[in-house]
């Protein structure tokens, strides 16, 4: 994602930025529940954990404390929305978008992305 950003490839950055957050969350889930694979049982709750796919809130919801922290924090909620659906389209759909967003909008997104990434990494140490 950083490479795409540095090269000014905004569409690619938005698409892979979403995927990067998705992967970060999935990593947190796997760590937290000590999973060997999707649908295996959590060591924390005993429940099977399903793959949240590309829905960031599903990923957040897979860890109850994370869900509480996200839903209690309007700013973080907005960051997730910004990354999930940049300017109205899902980050997965951005790979089919042909028109680059303007720089001002893109910078806003990039800021959201970074803030969210940082916040999530911080949380992952304290779940």
């Amino acid at each position: 994602m950083a490479v795409l950003h540095n090269q000014g490839r905004k569409i690619g950055a938005i698409h892979f930025g979403g995927i990067a957050i998705e992967c970060l969350l999935k990593n947190m889930i796997v760590q937290y529940h000590a999973l060997s694979s999707w649908d295996s049982h959590s060591k924390q709750t005993g429940q099977p954990i399903t793959n949240p796919k590309h829905i960031l809130f599903y990923a957040v919801r897979s860890i109850s404390t994370l869900q509480l922290r996200v839903t209690s924090n309007p700013e973080v909620r907005q960051l997730i929305k910004d990354v999930q659906q940049p300017f109205g389209d899902h980050y997965i759909e951005w790979r089919y978008v042909g028109t680059e967003p303007n720089t001002e909008k893109y910078d806003e997104w990039y800021q959201s992305y970074n803030k969210l990434r940082k916040w999530l990494i911080e949380q992952s140490k304290n779940l």
């Binding site: 959590s42 060591k43 924390q44 709750t45 005993g46 429940q47 099977p48 954990i49 399903t50 949240p52 796919k53 590309h54 829905i55 960031l56 809130f57 599903y58 919801r61 897979s62 860890i63 109850s64 404390t65 869900q67 509480l68 839903t71 209690s72 909620r77 997730i80 929305k81 999930q84 659906q85 109205g88 389209d89 899902h90 997965i92 759909e93």
Partner: protein, 882 residues
């Protein structure tokens, strides 16, 4: 809007093709609603339009939404979006956070911890605030249960402010270590390398004069080591190793307690959650009656309530340290009711058939007493009654547990088949009345020698008393505890002997009008009856010669001989010949003296008067008044050794209006089946089954059914029909439900219907045998549905009886089909119509026969039909008023 309502709205709006369209709603604790909707309705709409659509549909603002995922099926497929199950929590909540999520989304999936309700049962004593008397109540409850013979273990899980160790201060075997040491080792030592055994951490409080025992596991002595270990003890570590179950297993192996009573940490603390969510089978929440306690508990209990009957068995509230005066009690009741209302789902409150009246619901109140507050050590002997209500609550649950074990261990169908309910119909000679007769509280009043009039609705047991005193006199004598010694009972009129009927009474009515009187007819009739019974002492010369001459014409050899026209004619002669009438009067004096001389008395019984004297005829009331004139005349003659007992239907007795009716004031008995009489009859019926009888004698022994207390009767009947209608402590008692449903609007209960109800319920219950997929209740033989079915059957039977008893009201009865059970005066007058005469009179009649009740004159809908008849006449059962 609740999440379930939102889900419903969304489904109806967005789902046309359920195989590809779906919705998912999730509520977060900050009250934001998260939704995923996949629907064709979003086609051609941009993201913002989709959100607007939703806001408009749900009448909600943007800020009320959390995360919204609104896609068309094609988009969802492209992005592999599928419904995503809630997986963050365990199948049952273990922390406060998880509890909030469960409560918000009503998503308890798990089974009960103690699914089979086995012992030991863990009861957690919780309070939101400290200082409300929770630990004091725990100690005393444990002690009372031990006094009752249970083995009880008290566990101090208030690790941050422990106090149970003080209980053992004066005991010899104070343990060296406490629960904290034990848990710490189980959490952090190498697997199976444990030094502490469960026997190292409990002590015993000595209980004198009881087979029960009281053990205590204290948290530990508070020293620096204790503080350090409490600080480092993590609930999560306990959870990882499933340490509560291990602890419980070891305790059970060592002590086999019946109850583990857990003293919980207050407030929203992880140890509080551990006590409530991991340890508890049942929860007792303690509350001091003030707003501070109320507000904290309302939310917590609201969340815990969602677990009741699923993860936990029961949740009950105890109002504690309530000032011992009216204001204190009122305040406690007020807050308790407020809390209860807040915790009760509206649809539970509207359950019409099981609706509890306010008086049925009482909080458990523990009053503040100075002696307890200032005591230096617990338990304080002599204060059992203060805490007994809590022990009773646990005890009741325990009995249910015992019962489940009993019923699941045997073939329930075999037990049900063995039940033989008798429909007690005294007029049916095929019945063995001596077996089924239930001595009621009125029996003593009935055998009082001054009692003359026994009145009551049809079916209240008048004929049963008549037959018991004639056919089963010896048994009655035993029941009378000596009051029927030296009494001889004679049927003066009734089904025990062949008797004159409608035609004969009509004949007398038509012929006595000028020369005779009904009083004289009854006198003559009694004489003939005595003669037929061979009960006349010898006639003295001359004085009674004329009577003897008349009587010679009829055979006196067989009391069972049929009543013939010659008897009828002779009665008429005695009733119309003034000279003979006087002689008979003298003869009765002679008879009385004769009895007196021997220290004996004759009791005359009159039954079936309603049946044999034509209802509504011109002479009905005259004939009956004549009987009472005759009896009064005997009293005037002073004949104390001749006594009369007349059984008469309630409405006829009320209609009788003869001179000096007040002569019988205080000498009448209104036959009414009280609840306890009714329970005794029910138990007697159930005990016909030897299998049931053996279960009762094993688990809920009753020494003497006729003198058992209501509590004992309820216990022994619980095998038959359970304790309460629903499995919670506010549901109606089944026994009360049955009693009230078989009681009419005048408060009269019909014992005969009980057998009918139980028989129909039994037959219905046995049908479930063929439906193994329908789970059978493990706490009772007859489930609610079967009792409901039995009630409908009994109600139909009773409605049919009413039709026969009051044929003149048939047009009204016919119009009751689908008529509302609660109605206004206007609606009632429409029902009554004009064809039966004055509307007010018909309405009064409907009231007097127990069909209708006027509840409150000021009310817009003052009339209510008795529950007993609502099913029988197929009325509209609704709380809506018309």
């Amino acid at each position: 809007m609740k999440s379930s309502e939102i889900r419903k709205t969304l489904i109806s709006e967005f789902i046309n093709l359920p195989e590809i369209e779906w919705v998912e709603v999730n509520l977060s604790s900050s009250n934001l609603i998260n939704m995923t909707i996949v629907s064709h309705k979003f086609k051609e709409l941009g993201f913002e339009k989709r959100e607007d659509y939703l806001e408009e549909l749900l009448h909600m603002r943007e800020e009320e939404f959390g995360f919204l995922y609104l896609y068309t099926p094609e988009e969802a497929e492209l992005m592999e979006i599928k419904p995503h199950a809630e997986t963050s929590s365990a199948s049952s909540p273990q922390t406060w956070l998880e509890l909030t999520q469960f409560a918000l989304n009503n998503s308890v999936q798990g089974k009960k911890k103690n699914e089979n309700n086995e012992f030991p049962r863990t009861v957690t004593f919780y309070s939101f605030k400290g200082g409300v008397g929770r630990t004091t109540a725990l100690v005393h409850t444990g002690w009372i249960l031990a006094m009752r013979g249970y083995k009880v273990l008290l566990v101090d899980l208030d690790l941050e402010a422990p106090s149970l160790h003080l209980l053992l201060n004066n005991q010899g075997d104070k343990p060296l270590k406490g629960l904290v040491e034990f848990l710490y080792e189980r959490c952090y030592a190498l697997d199976n390398a444990y030094q502490l055994h469960i026997s190292d951490i409990f002590g015993e409080v000595q209980i004198e004069n009881s087979s029960g025992r009281l053990f205590v596991i204290p948290a530990g002595d508070i020293d620096l080591n204790y503080i350090a270990k409490v600080d480092d003890l993590r609930v999560s570590a306990l959870k990882n190793r499933d340490i509560w179950e291990t602890f419980k297993g070891e305790v059970t192996k060592q002590l086999q307690p019946d109850f583990i009573l857990v003293d919980s940490r207050t407030g929203i603390n992880e140890w509080g959650a551990f006590s409530l969510l991991q340890a508890a089978d049942d929860i007792l929440a303690f509350m001091y009656p003030n707003e501070e306690n109320y507000q904290g508990l309302e939310t917590i209990l609201g969340a815990l309530k969602t677990l009741e009957h699923s993860w936990i068995n029961s949740l009950n509230i105890v109002m504690s340290k309530v000032p011992n005066n009216k204001q204190g009690k009122d305040k406690a009741k007020e807050l308790w009711k407020k809390l209860n209302d807040a915790l009760t789902e509206p649809n539970e409150q509207n359950d019409e058939d099981d609706l509890e009246s306010d008086e049925d619901q009482e909080p458990i109140i523990i009053h503040y007493t100075q002696d307890i507050a200032l005591a230096e050590k617990y338990p304080i002997i002599g204060f059992e009654s203060v805490f007994a209500p809590i022990a009773n609550l646990i005890d009741e649950e325990a009995e249910q547990t015992k019962l489940r074990a009993v019923l699941s261990g045997r073939d329930r169908w075999e037990i049900i088949e063995s039940l033989q309910f008798e429909v007690v119909d005294a007029s049916d000679t095929k019945n063995d009345l001596s077996k089924v007769f239930q001595r009621t509280s009125d029996f003593d009043k009935f055998i009082d020698e001054t009692t003359v009039v026994i009145h009551g609705q049809k079916g209240t047991g008048k004929t049963a008393l008549y037959w018991m005193l004639l056919k089963h006199f010896d048994q009655s004598r035993k029941m009378s505890r000596g009051r029927l010694d030296n009494i001889q009972s004679i049927s003066a009129h009734g089904s025990f002997r062949s008797r004159p009927g409608k035609e004969e009474f009509r004949y007398w009515a038509n012929t006595i009008s000028e020369n005779g009187s009904w009083e004289a007819v009854w006198r003559g009739y009694l004489l003939i009856r005595l003669f037929m019974e061979k009960n006349l002492p010898g006639f003295r010369n001359k004085e009674f010669q004329e009577i003897a001459k008349e009587l010679k014409g009829i055979s006196k050899n067989k009391p069972e001989q049929p009543w013939k026209s010659q008897h009828t004619e002779l009665v008429l002669k005695f009733g119309t010949d003034a000279s003979l009438t006087l002689k008979i009067k003298d003869y009765l004096t002679y008879l009385n003296d004769n009895q007196k001389k021997d220290g004996k008395a004759l009791w005359f019984f009159y039954d079936d008067l309603d049946e044999d004297i034509e209802e509504g005829s011109l002479y009905q009331l005259d004939a009956l008044s004549g009987l009472y004139y005759f009896i009064r005349s005997c009293d005037t003659q002073s004949l104390p050794n001749l006594r009369f007992k007349t059984f008469i239907r309630e409405d006829i007795w009320n209609r009788l209006n003869f001179t000096n009716k007040s002569h019988f004031k205080g000498r009448d008995v209104l036959l009414q089946w009280t609840r306890i009489d009714f329970l005794r009859l029910a138990l007697r019926q159930a005990l016909y089954s030897p299998v049931y009888s053996s279960l009762v004698s094993r688990y809920f022994p009753v020494q003497d059914t006729d003198n058992a207390s209501e509590e004992i009767l309820l216990d022994s009947l619980q095998i038959l029909w359970g304790i309460r209608r629903e499995n919670n402590n506010h549901a109606k008692y089944v026994a009360r439900w049955v009693y009230e449903r078989l009681t009419d609007a005048t408060g009269t209960t019909f014992p005969r219907l009980l057998g009918l109800l139980l028989n129909a319920a039994k037959d219905h219950e046995l049908q479930y045998r063929e439906q193994p997929h329908v789970p059978a209740p493990s706490d009772r033989l007859l489930r609610n549905q079967s009792l409901n079915f039995g009630l409908i059957s009994a109600s139909k039977h009773r409605a049919q009886e009413l039709r026969q008893e009051y044929p003149e009201l048939l047009p009204v009865f016919d119009r009751l089909l689908d008529f509302p059970e609660i109605c206004s005066k206007v609606k009632l007058e429409e029902l009554v119509g004009n064809s039966l005469g004055s509307k007010d009179e018909v309405i009064t009649k409907l009231q007097s026969i127990g069909l209708l009740q006027e509840l409150n004159k000021g009310n817009e809908f003052p009339y209510r039909f008795a529950d007993l008849y609502a099913h029988g006449f197929e009325m509209r059962r609704t709380r809506r008023k018309y």
